[in-house]
């Protein structure tokens, strides 16, 4: 398959490369006010309709027939530029686009429609970064991940969490890239917020299928997030404060038009605000307990342009969550003063990511662009507990110390090339090498005492597991005719762990057929594989989740996905897309029934089962991208199953986040420069859960009587995920009030999460109905109780941009 694909690509390349006499125009496209390079900008010749889009660094290269040309450059939210000139030789032209003040600029609509209609890429959504800040969200904290959850084909996890389940995939099947570097744990506050600070984000692209060959490593989705580069013209910044967190961002030139920076940070402050209350609560007690939680993150990026051909970027992310409990107790009541003591106990739980990337853009010639990157990514989870006891009237001390930690660390070097042999033809290729260090869970325990014999210092748990991953890819985007285009490629990967090597050949192909000027049809196939597993519980989203490599026993998961789609811009102001997908997944893992998520990681392979999954469905997305009112309506009809030999007794069962119907409506409306409002409404079929509604006695036979938990009946669960929780729906409302001040723009944001206070299900269980005991008709009965997390939650935030 691989060899055939290469041969086809090679001959088509030669054919197309030799046909006709052409010249190249190339260069960068950037924002006029900030100098930020614009990703995914359309550039095309309006007569021949030959065009391309800028790459992740704002570079384009377009091969056009010599002679007079009319080149159109357009990008959502910017004024389009039309340039006509006589193309007589290879030419470098860099465009600067001016942000559009008009919301109804007709030509931009056309440009936008072109982008959706004419690209071979399907199952990809470019999230409008500026727009998502206007949509209402939980506690007023704008969040990239929560916007992604509103898109068709994406299911959210637990209410309020940032987890995503894409086209039937699991939580470990999503690759989050921040400036091209994998982020292993993308959540703060037990999953309620993502680590991506919207103030530092420049672009967000979600791939659900039709994966280009340059992406790999996960089965179900790629979320490619690019950070801003920093304004290279002048210094700007913003400050905002909300109910739970404050943010500060600064960006500006280090050397005007040559070097710029951006730095953005945020921190929550519930721990600080609650301290006086905790002090008051402890006032009259011998035991004083303080607890708190906070998270912070910091994004920074600098770049330097050595020349038009050379540019270097250094970006970093540092984020951490910390929760703690401190308890002190003094006992001086005993009649014997030798027994008086003071004890202190500290418990800490922390997790966080460190991510950094050093990249070098080098324009080898006007047809070949290169990007060389060295990256580092680390995720750590740490829990520690220290207990000390000191006798007040002697030197006798003791100390217990316990620590459990786990994590993963990656070093990667990679090189990517964009090659533009002709106007109808572009090739991307590259290679990468990654060194993984998995720490599946190590526990250390020490006990110090005056009594030497009692001292203990022990470490147990798994040692680090090292692995090497090699990747090479090539993808070729070709216009076969004026109506048919294709993006075909091959992603190859090798993974070497503990003397075991795995190889993976992953062909990808996407086809586009332009049925008319306003309608196109698409088809794609992609094979994806990944070499890591995430051991996670399906009940809750906690940072104890363990990333672990594939092993001899647990083979790399593999997915095959087929998709068919249609895009239309036949309806004025609206883009409509419809996609059908069918996906199979093999070598998936799930916890064994009864196995939990905690522990030392020792023998983790024995805690999981291997099986397969299947998902299929249809997605509809209706978008309105221009005008005073913008937004989208998404609908997904889907079914997701799992089949494990040793789960559910080998029978097929619905995945936890199998959701038959999923609807999302997201609307923003701008009244004027001073006021805008946002609305989000979501509806989803209830999650599948395992609920028993019959009990029965355990084996009552000689020598088989249950010994453990004597007297406990058994619950008849029938099958795994046999019950549907009530449906989920919610309405969020928000409004922004802007005012131009002397030094910038002030914004008050008021939002209401779950406006009609729908009690959405979080957990179901059987419990006694503790009604009125005094009532003569009182009888003890069990009822099904639903526990919900978030009722109506209003919030307010203040921000200032300067």
């Amino acid at each position: 398959m691989g060899k055939s694909l290469f041969s086809i690509l090679f001959f088509i390349s030669i054919f197309l490369g030799l046909s006709g006499q052409k010249h190249i125009i190339s260069g960068y496209i950037s924002d006029k006010t900030s100098g930020e390079r614009l990703i995914g900008t359309n550039i095309y010749e309006i007569e021949s309709l030959i065009g391309t889009i800028t790459n992740n660094y704002g570079f384009y290269s377009l091969s056009l027939p010599k002679g007079p040309v009319w080149v159109m450059v357009s990008y959502l939210g910017y004024k389009s530029v039309l340039l006509d000139f006589d193309l007589v030789k290879d030419t470098t032209i860099s465009f600067v686009l001016e942000p559009s003040s008009s919301e109804i600029e007709e030509i931009t609509i056309i440009a936008t429609n072109r982008s959706n209609l004419e690209t071979t890429q399907m199952s990809m959504i470019d999230i409008p970064v500026e727009k998502f800040k206007n949509l209402p969200v939980l506690l007023g904290e704008a969040d990239v991940m929560k916007i992604i959850q509103l898109l068709p084909g994406v299911q959210s996890g637990t209410e309020g969490s940032t987890g995503i389940y894409v086209r039937g995939g699991g939580p470990d099947q999503n690759l989050f890239l921040l400036d091209g570097v994998p982020v292993y744990n993308a959540s703060h506050l037990f999953g309620f917020f993502s680590v991506f600070n919207p103030d530092a984000v420049k672009s967000v692209q979600l791939y659900k299928g039709g994966f280009p060959a340059r992406y790999g490593e996960r089965l179900s989705s790629v979320v490619d997030i690019r950070m801003k580069e920093g304004n290279e013209k002048e210094t700007h910044g913003s400050f905002s404060t909300g109910i739970i967190a404050s943010k500060l961002s600064l960006e500006g030139p280090l050397i005007k038009n040559k070097s710029s920076y951006i730095i953005s940070g945020r921190r929550t402050y519930i721990d600080i605000l609650s301290m006086p209350f905790q002090t008051a609560a402890n006032k009259n007690y011998d035991s004083k307990t303080y607890g708190g939680y906070y998270f912070y993150d910091l994004n920074g990026k600098v770049n330097y342009k050595f020349s038009d051909k050379n540019r270097v970027f250094l970006s970093a992310y540092l984020g951490s969550d910390k929760a703690y409990l401190k308890d002190t107790y003094k006992s001086d009541y005993s009649n014997n003063p030798d027994d008086w003591y003071e004890s202190k106990e500290k418990i800490g739980l922390g997790w966080g990511n460190i991510i950094s990337a050093l990249r070098w853009n080098y324009l080898i010639n006007n047809r070949l662009f290169s990007n060389t990157t060295i990256t580092y990514s680390r995720y750590n989870f740490d829990i520690d507990n220290e207990f000390t006891e000191k006798k007040l009237n002697s030197n006798e001390n003791s100390r217990d110390y316990f620590r459990y930690y786990s994590g993963i660390q990656d070093f990667t070097t990679k090189v990517d090339f964009d090659y533009f042999p002709s106007g109808s033809h572009s090739i991307k290729f590259g290679a990468a090498w990654t060194y993984h260090n998995f720490k599946p869970g190590v526990t250390s325990f020490s006990f110090d005492s005056e009594d030497i014999e009692s001292m203990l210092d022990t470490i147990f748990g798994n040692q680090s597991i090292f692995a090497r991953e090699y990747v090479a890819y090539i993808e070729d985007k070709i216009s076969i005719s004026s109506r048919i285009s294709m993006n075909a490629g091959l992603h190859t990967a090798a993974f070497n762990v503990q003397d075991t090597a795995y190889f993976s050949f992953q062909p990808r192909i996407s086809l586009l057929f332009m049925a008319g000027k306003k309608i196109s049809f698409k088809a794609s196939y992609s094979k994806m594989s990944q070499f890591v597993h995430l051991l996670t519980t399906s009940s809750v989203n906690l940072p104890t989740d363990l990333w672990l490599p594939v092993t001899r026993k647990l083979l790399p998961p593999v997915a095959h996905q087929f998709a068919l789609g249609a895009n239309s811009s036949m309806f004025r102001h609206f883009d409509v897309s419809l996609e059908l997908f069918y996906k199979t997944m093999d070598n998936l893992i799930e916890y064994k029934e009864g196995a939990g998520f905690t522990g030392t990681g020792k023998g983790w392979e024995s805690k999981v089962e291997r099986g397969k999954g299947k998902a299929y469905g249809a997605e509809v997305l209706i978008e309105k991208t221009k005008g005073k009112t913008t937004g989208w309506l998404g609908y997904t009809l889907s079914k997701t199953d799992r089949e494990f030999e040793n789960l559910n007794f080998g029978k097929v069962f619905p995945a936890k986040y199998d959701r038959r119907h999923d609807v999302s409506l997201a609307i923003t409306h701008k009244f004027n420069e001073k006021r805008d409002i946002g609305l989000v409404w979501v509806y989803g079929t209830g999650n599948a859960t395992t609920l028993g509604y019959m009990t029965f006695p355990a084996a009552s036979l000689p020598n088989y009587l249950p010994n453990f938990y004597y007297g406990q009946d058994l619950v008849d669960y029938e099958s795994r995920n046999n019950f549907r929780m009530p449906s989920y729906h919610r309405l969020d409302l928000g409004a922004n009030f802007h005012k131009q001040k002397k030094n910038g723009v002030r914004t008050w944001t008021i939002s209401v999460y779950n406006a009609y206070s729908r009690k959405n299900p979080f957990i179901l269980n059987w419990d006694y109905d503790y009604g009125d005991y005094s009532s003569p008709s009182y009888s003890e009965k069990k009822v099904l109780k639903q526990y919900s997390l978030f009722p109506i939650i209003p919030s307010v935030a203040y921000s200032f941009q300067f």
Binding site: F190, E345, Y693, M694, F696, P706
Partner: protein, 355 residues
């Protein structure tokens, strides 16, 4: 230990936080699952050369604690051997569940005895229930080749030298797993003690009773690697305990293997002059796959039931349209005896319960 308390406290704190938020949003929801009928529960373990006893019980809806299940004493229990109808089992009476007296079982018995290598099917029809059926293959025995014993002292915590230790009899039980088929086992051990009830400084008196008690050794052989299937050491979780000492031949397929187990010992405390005794009975049971899966899943189910942090464990059943298990077991056994029992003329008094 304080660190266990601490980390548990932390998880409880997280959970409590979630529950605190969610408790404020607690609602009773309609449970609409249509007409839920109780299911017939079958418990029967076939043993060679033994009459077949089938116990029938009923499941109960969680939400109706006073639920009165339709009666099962009139049930028709048909027995098929190798797909041929053989007989309808005879109703012999009602038994209360030994551990939960809210349940009772109707007991039925065959006239024929079970034989190894045969396939058995039990079909049950009863008014108010859906008909149920279950199939079972009675496996062949796997003979114990030898059993060697030695005395030792068991030290429960080697890191604590002063910890109390007790005397045990270490047993090495050798057997050969039959090749080419999947085999499932249970190691079962019990001991019966007889204790003279009176002052042993006085001569033995036939008037004074010797109290006889039988003890089942739960989790015996837990130190053997193929029986100890404890999943991992964890500070947070309830561990699934292999109470039935069941195991498969996955690691020893077709090979000779020596199981290690220890049984308690009382050196010097058994005085045979007073007709005291201790008799150990050790069985290597070859059990049907269905019985193995039932025992494994029901143990895990009881440990994990109600644990928010783990997926519920489904209890395995081979009863179509019903619950419970129809299993087969064929034991090979050895006895170790100290003292003689029974002895004619000794006044034995028996404990009501086995332990």
């Amino acid at each position: 230990m304080s660190f266990i308390r601490g980390t548990d406290k932390f998880l409880i704190f997280i959970f409590a936080l979630l529950m605190l938020v969610s408790t404020s949003c607690e609602t009773i929801i309609d449970f609409n699952k249509g007409d839920i009928k109780p299911k017939i529960v079958i418990y029967s373990v076939l043993m060679p050369d033994s009459l077949i006893i089938v116990r029938l019980g009923s499941s109960t809806p969680v939400f109706e604690p006073d639920f009165k299940a339709p009666k099962l004493n009139n049930a028709e229990v048909k027995l098929f051997v190798n797909d041929n109808y053989v007989e309808s089992l005879q109703y012999i009476g009602r038994n209360q569940s030994e551990y939960n007296h809210t349940y009772s079982f109707e007991e039925f018995q065959s006239r024929m005895k079970a034989n190894p290598h045969d396939n058995y099917r039990v079909e049950v029809e009863a008014s108010g229930y859906e008909s149920v059926s279950a199939n079972c293959f009675l496996p062949n025995t796997v003979e114990i080749i030898s059993i060697d014993t030695s005395h030792a002292f068991y030290q429960p915590d080697p890191s604590w030298p002063d910890a109390p230790s007790w005397s045990v009899i270490n047993c090495k039980l050798k057997f050969k797993d039959p090749p080419d088929i999947e085999n499932y086992y249970r190691l079962y051990a019990s001991y019966t003690t007889g204790r003279y009830s009176s002052d042993k400084s006085q001569p033995y008196s036939p008037e004074r009773p010797v109290y006889v008690e039988k003890h089942v050794l739960w989790g015996v052989g837990g130190g053997d690697p193929i029986i100890n299937t404890k999943q991992e050491e964890s500070f947070f979780e309830d561990e699934i305990y292999n109470e039935y000492s069941i195991f498969t031949d996955e690691l020893i397929s077709g090979k000779e293997y020596t199981l290690r187990l220890a049984v308690p010992n009382w050196p010097g405390s058994i005085d045979t002059a007073y007709h005291e005794f201790v008799h150990y009975h050790i069985e290597l049971q070859s059990i049907s796959r269905d019985l193995y899966l039932y025992l494994r899943s029901s143990s895990a189910h009881r440990v994990k039931e109600g644990n928010f942090f783990s997926e519920p464990v489904l209890v395995y059943s081979n009863v179509e349209n019903g619950l419970g298990i129809l299993g087969g077991s064929f034991a090979s056994s050895r006895d170790l005896k100290i003292g003689t029992y029974p002895v004619e003329g000794v006044n034995y008094q028996y404990s009501e319960y086995d332990y």
